[in-house]
Amino acid sequence: MSKLYSGAEIVFKCLEDQGVEFVFGYPGGAVLPIYDELKNFNFLKHILVRHEQGAGHAAEGYARSSGKPGVLIVTSGPGATNAVTALTDAYMDSVPLVCISGQVPTHLIGTDAFQEADTTGITRPCTKHNWLVKDIKELGKTIHKAFEVATSGRPGPVLVDIPKDVQFQKTSYIKFKKQKKLNGKVHNQFSQKDIDELIKLMSKASKPIFYTGGGVINSGPKASELLRELVSTTGFPITTTLQGLGSYPGEDGQFLGMLGMHGSYEANNAMHDCDLMINIGARFDDRITGKLDEFSPKSKKVHVDIDPSSINKNVKVDLPIIGDVAEVITSTIKTIKKVKPNFAKSNKQKISKWWEKIQKWRSVNSFDFVNSTETIKPQYAVQRLYELTKNKDTYITTEVGQHQMWAAQHYKFDKPNRWMTSGGLGTMGYGLPAAVGVQVAHPKKLVIDIAGEASVLMTMQEMSTAVQYSLPIKIFILNNEYMGMVRQWQELLHDKNYSESYTAALPDFVKLAEAYGCVGIRATRPEELDDKIIEMINTDRPVIFDCLVDKEENCFPMIPSGKPHNQMLLGPKDQKQNKITGKGKTLV
């Protein structure tokens, strides 16, 4: 007879077989048997967070920067409910997470026991799938299946809820064998015919554009390399979504910058006027499309996505190609080489007028701002941070708001997995714990959370985690004392009624840093910024950098108010700035 293991041991056997090296977690009554076994499994390092939401975001940061699934362990009741925000965030941004939660013993389920919550009920809409394991014999199989569901197809979070009595029960452990198929859910459904059709559209187009998203990054680093090859083979312009930043080099000439509500003028205009849009791994999010009725009216649309339900969800497309980005691009490049070896050359003439038009839009220089010698402009701060860190293979996380958009506009990425931001859910407080997770995955790399002072206070307690594990993360706060994006909308849409968007009693972030046992740095004037940033980079400990910036700077350009892509609102330098009126207000 084979050796018997307890449920708690089986959890670790599974994690070991899955190649997990780090878990983020927080102990509690219903997971104590699991924590009791931790000492017996040396392959695993446990990172003790200060709040379960932090565990979730740290696991997300770990996953997005490493390409491996993030794992968290939380207790029943409040432990699980605290993780819900992070699970929802991961669900929206397609991040593979495996959450293991404790549950009250099976005989107490349904009795409103201490720290009981209907965890599988609560997390059903924010996970790809979840399981309540009531039978010890199912435990091993379930955890392996959980990893498979989290990482296959369009990745996402899953949760395994394990009652305390099951953690004590014993059974044998069957070693994990990798299976090929999951319940008949095939991911590559495209055929050579689709690829031929795509190439036909590409060779006919005179105003083409690539619109790529997080799917390229999720497909692995190879997909980003292939994308570069495809873009240079075709000579087409390319724009990426917020989540797609890094899949294509930010300083390349064919790159038009990010698109969408705060995207570049050239990217949005090109999206509007194009005659062929090739969407690779993006999902026509409402922050991208603006007014749907007038979204890119004259284009043929191709949509490459691994998730069939993404096709025609928001925008009707002409050619859907369902499959993994890397495989679709591989087939496309292969076919182009075979059928049209001189594609770029023969095509150059045809799209030269298109490029002229794009250059005209580009000359508007839409990310420009009026700099100051008196106060630090937030855009300037991000630009300096970029210039001083660009040669260091830096990993950037952000919180949510104006600083996030400025980071996306002014920090240029040339590799995938270097940019971690909460796009779909827009979770303030994401960046700091995410930076913890990124630093765990890349202990030698420079990891910076570009933050706002309001967001960062939501999960500030995780500084304590960073200090405990000597994770030298850098929290670069663009401090304007306002919830900046809220303040901006109130200024533009609500007649400057700044209702509750000013934080009147902020902590002294330098002293706060010292209280946590890390380093605090403050910059107040533009001329001292560079030196302070260099000081931050050279500090081999966690740093909170309090960068006091212009309090009333707005984030431009933006697509306002009931307007399509080609009617962007530009910054203060643009003389023809229109005021947003009536109908327009709804779309901001």
Binding site: K128, L132, V149, S309, N312, G562, K585, L587
Partner: protein
Amino acid sequence: MSKSKSAYSTPGKQGKFDTHIIVVWVDNEAGVLARVVGLFSGRGYNIESLTVAEIDPKLNISRITIVTTGTPQVIEQIKLQLKKLVPVHKVADFKREDKKIIFKEMALFKVVGNKLKKEKALKACKKYNPVILDKTNRSYVIQITALRREIDIMSKNLKKFGLASVSRTGAVAMTRGSEIFK
């Protein structure tokens, strides 16, 4: 237009709604119905009726039949979203008007009254395969099988014959002929 200050777009033109019958084969496991129903409520899809029962105890498969309404785009999304659920094996979709498909619902009527009323009620049900499941001096329980709209009409018509209680199922569906849905 009112001055909405929402952070989101205004709704576009609404397409025409069709009635569809969606049949879903699922693993019969804890919470599977909640997953399917939660998908509908979470994404704002309609459910007109829903029927579920295990059909294969050996393979542990249940068959869920859902009557829903939506634009063609919404119906397409419903199918694709359902197919993504882990316990879902296959999804079939039939238009209400489809002649190749049989739809049936069952209803139980309790009629309370004198003999004359009871007989009149039974007679009114004649077209819909009535079966008397229970009878007493003062009451009948009549079972009929029919289409949804027909049962709607019957529930109305039987009122004058002493209809005291109605219980009805959702729709079940099956293709005509020898073919089965794969």
